[in-house]
Symmetry: D2
Subunit: 341 residues, 4 copies
């Protein structure tokens, strides 16, 4: 059955599998201390225009959020996130499992607002009892957000300024970063992210890799003994070069951007058809995720032929569904979906 | 300077100090395994009409919340609380420090609503991704709440029913329980609490003791090796009989209720005057805490003579302040305050 | 350069890569809820003669030890292990990071002794203060051990009996299980392990897979909401079918056993030569790891041509080194090593 | 029945109870922000000759060990302790509950040896895999030890030197510090401890207080937001002045030292009689704890009249028992015990 359920339903870009096969018998040292990881890190440093960056490779998104947030957030502090943030909702308490509270701000199409963040911090430090409360230590944003939306450069700069003012770290979850960087109309580049965040990750799992997320500390200020912390979180892959190999392949010849743009274009085609045919887009999104509020009968009819993502009940007869394209989505699959709509 | 800042600004009921002095040289076994604790527990069992109850004595409120919630909440679950709940706001992340997420519901004058709790749980289990989310495992309520308000018997029974339906434990934080049980108009008794909760505590720190909270498992189903868990949380007092002695003294001759009622009466006197003199009560509360929205000039004038509690900014020229009476408040102090108002 | 440094220096058995390539474009549901995982689990259930077993797939060894031990060990308890056990030494505190103490017994060539375990527990419960101590809740053994040694069936049965007597869970770390099951002279089968342990895992990372460990609860008594706990530990792979596919491939046509036996045979060839040429074997091991105590000059000479594992200083002029074969070791590599020795 | 079971079986020095009674109605601000705590801290700073010291007051020993070690030990590190150390054996896993491993060294009459500590660290950093291991971050010593023994000044200085060399913090558990400072023949003063440790605590629970331990950071380098960390550990007493009052009383007129010396003298009297009557002292100890290896019949006879502490089985017919004097031990009690021996 056709699936537009998510962007992690297929394997990897074929060039990755080819390289895996070609180097399968090569003997590598373990835990990421190999030449392939070094080469991949160097490519990423260049792409971010962060020549000093410390780049590490982890396996999955929740694991990365957990490991990074725990490592950079002081013990008396928590992480500020949109109430819809992945770390707040869909990580089974992975952040709290490392003893940090998630402090929530109301989301605006998945994003937090710099002015609201500033007010939150101002109110916090104005409270006579703030020493009895969890300090805002790290700010977590996802770009694209869980709703497929994007921060503008102005918005990122405003968040950075608030973080500077209140001594907070800015961490950007880029599980779908490729789709954000190649979206129509975005003014945010990878270099901007390298300049404005303290740490971010470039998602591989959802953008062309079998698995893998590249964590970047652009100012080369990873926490002391970060490798040990990765190990302690159960997040250190024995065959680390498998991660390096995938990112090295994705970051050669602009492949990461090319395949991400492809998914956005597929989404744009579908969005156009949806609009033409009178579907209700729940919100405007420029990336590979499309949210539609549909009546339940239409959903039932569609789901006989295609798997879609369930988001939430809209009302008694309507539901918000997600259509998600990916680097692996083919033109034929898009045609098939359009025929069904 | 006069203080109506909180209800833990004085020592203990004189009968406690007298008994401490009288038995100071007596040799007791450690860690609560003494006769005094046993006698206090028995008095509490009787007062709760829970003859099988397991009663333990801890030192402070945050410590008790942390130890109990951690002990009764499964590792895949969090604790549901009002967003204003002490565990969510003023415990410096003590709950998350034991790896449990605080899941918040909007408060209604400090209380959570059973229908909203039911909806929360229904929505949770209807979500296709609920296994990626923190389960609602324990429900935390405070009675009186942080705003001095009280649940009605109907409300408690409705919460109990929702807990039963969704397999959740009901934990009642009774840091100020005495003030709640003796409030004008309440229809909730200690026996009701014994019948309707899985575990609760009777606050001593704020109601007549130097320190101490009595944790009650009315169905005698404390977690396995609860003493070891108390120790592991650093919460096991070496000279445990000091806790037993205080509760044994408070629960003889109805002393706990008598001294709590006294504080409520003092608050009632003050409230009457406030109304007569046109002050704005922020909300109606039947216990020892009074919240007033005052203009900042009045506050400045008052604070030259009396310490009040700061709650939050109301607007640019007004602030919500708290007047808090206690078991130790004297008629003279009330007179003095009234003279100032 | 030639490497006999470890058994995770190469990719995967070619049949895995072929299948990855063949099914790369197939769309799967996420998180292990796919048919491939189901098929792999069924093959493993059959191989273990545990038709009711609950089988889960995780990515790496430390991650698996952390997630399983945390999930099965009560909060008042720790995990008993050999002082040389991986969980005690080489996991950067991953077990303690989940709040459980590692309680150590002296090792005997990497193994713990059932009689010593029984004495440990007897002494523990005889101590008047045992409620102030960490209870022995889970017993961790590795098979093969970190020293390549194996438990006999009698030894496993004796450990099982002690666990039963003191209410402990028995967890077997099978990171190198294939090498143990196919060792010359072992009388322990996979079915025995299914019968005698509460939970164990079948190592893929070191035995033919790119990565992956198959956790088996032979009595189908995985902890409640174990999927949620896996997620909370950051250990839930988005593309779960990648794990299923690897184990499904390894467990067809006895492949797992065949490739493991091959590594043991390579080790046996090397061991014979070492003995003939007068090398000092540090201890007798029947699996793919060989420990030799060598003078430092010989080591320096060898390391110009081959990477070996460093274990520990023996004395001022000698060092214990490890020669490790793997499923991927070729006859030519063995010949080359023998020529060097 | 007479008890020499421990040194926390009685209340507090009478001067403390008197002062509690005298100031019972005084209104204090909460959480240790009061004048009494400030005065007590100042007295302690003077006694330690550490004019810059940051002094905090906690309730109990395990709580203090847990809070301090967690606060000062980096996340990639553990705490080195004697295998007999309280944190390793008798705190129910309180240290691991905060995610830190206890790394053990063999004890020598309860003490660790600086040379062995140096070797441990040297071996650690020489291991090629040390990044996969728990770093030695903090060194925990107790003075007196759990066996009543004392470090010499030379030994403390040697430990300090090793800590400096390997970047470790030195933490001294002074639960019984008074008994150590006033022991016959000790050359270690409170000023030495202030000079040589990074943090230590002065035990009140076992030396004249109802409860309470004074944590001292002699270099005024407490971890950032240490008050918040105390709160997060459930260790912040609401009526903080109760702690200040006790230490202020103990540190006036040399009272802490005087009452501790009294206990040592009582122990010395008992020790003399034990030697005269041919009892076997398990080890030589200069403080208030006496360990005797006794045949089980004698023990049974004695225990009809006096409670002693059980330490461990010596052999099938003998047991190591503890006789513990305290600040509260009277001459009559000593006479009574001597008559029984």
């Amino acid at each position: 059955m056709l699936s537009f359920e998510n962007d992690y339903c297929c394997g990897a870009h074929p060039s990755i599998l080819e390289r895996l096969a070609a180097t399968n018998a090569t003997q590598h040292p373990g835990y990421g201390s190999d030449d392939v990881c070094a080469a991949a890190a160097e490519k990423i440093r260049r792409a971010c225009a962060s020549p000093e960056a410390d780049v590490r490779f982890l396996v999955g998104g929740t694991q990365t959020n957990q490991t990074v947030i725990d490592a950079i957030t002081p013990p008396y502090a928590g992480v500020v996130a949109a109430d819809t943030g992945h770390v707040n909702v869909h990580e089974a308490g992975a952040i709290e499992a490392t003893r940090h509270k998630v402090l929530t701000l109301p989301h605006h199409n998945g994003k937090i607002d710099a002015a609201e963040l500033r007010d939150y911090c101002t109110t916090f430090y104005a409270d006579g009892n703030y020493e009895h409360m969890v300090f805002p230590g790290t700010v977590y944003i996802s770009h694209p957000t869980e709703y497929g939306t994007l921060y503008t450069l102005n918005e990122l700069e405003a968040l950075r300024a608030v973080c500077d003012r209140f001594g907070m770290k800015l961490f950007l979850d880029g599980a779908r970063l490729g789709y954000g960087l190649t979206a129509d109309g975005t003014d945010v580049t990878l270099q901007d992210i390298g300049r404005l965040t303290d740490v971010f990750y470039i998602g591989g799992t959802k953008v062309g890799a079998l698995f893998g997320e590249a964590v970047v500390f652009p100012k080369n200020d990873a926490p002391a003994h970060f490798l040990t912390l990765i190990k302690q979180h159960g997040a250190l892959l024995a065959k680390g070069w498998l991660l390096g190999l995938q990112f090295d392949t994705l970051f050669e010849n602009d492949r990461y951007m090319t395949i991400a743009r492809h998914a956005n274009e597929a989404a744009a085609r579908i969005r156009t058809v949806l609009r033409e045919r009178g579907y209700t887009l729940t919100m405007e999104t420029p990336t590979n995720q499309i949210f539609i509020t549909m009546d339940n009968e239409t959903i039932a009819r569609l789901q006989e032929h295609v798997r879609l993502g369930f988001m939430e009940k809209a009302d008694d007869t309507h539901t918000v569904m997600r259509i998600c394209t990916a680097w692996s989505t083919t033109d034929e699959q898009v045609d098939e979906l359009i025929a069904l709509l």
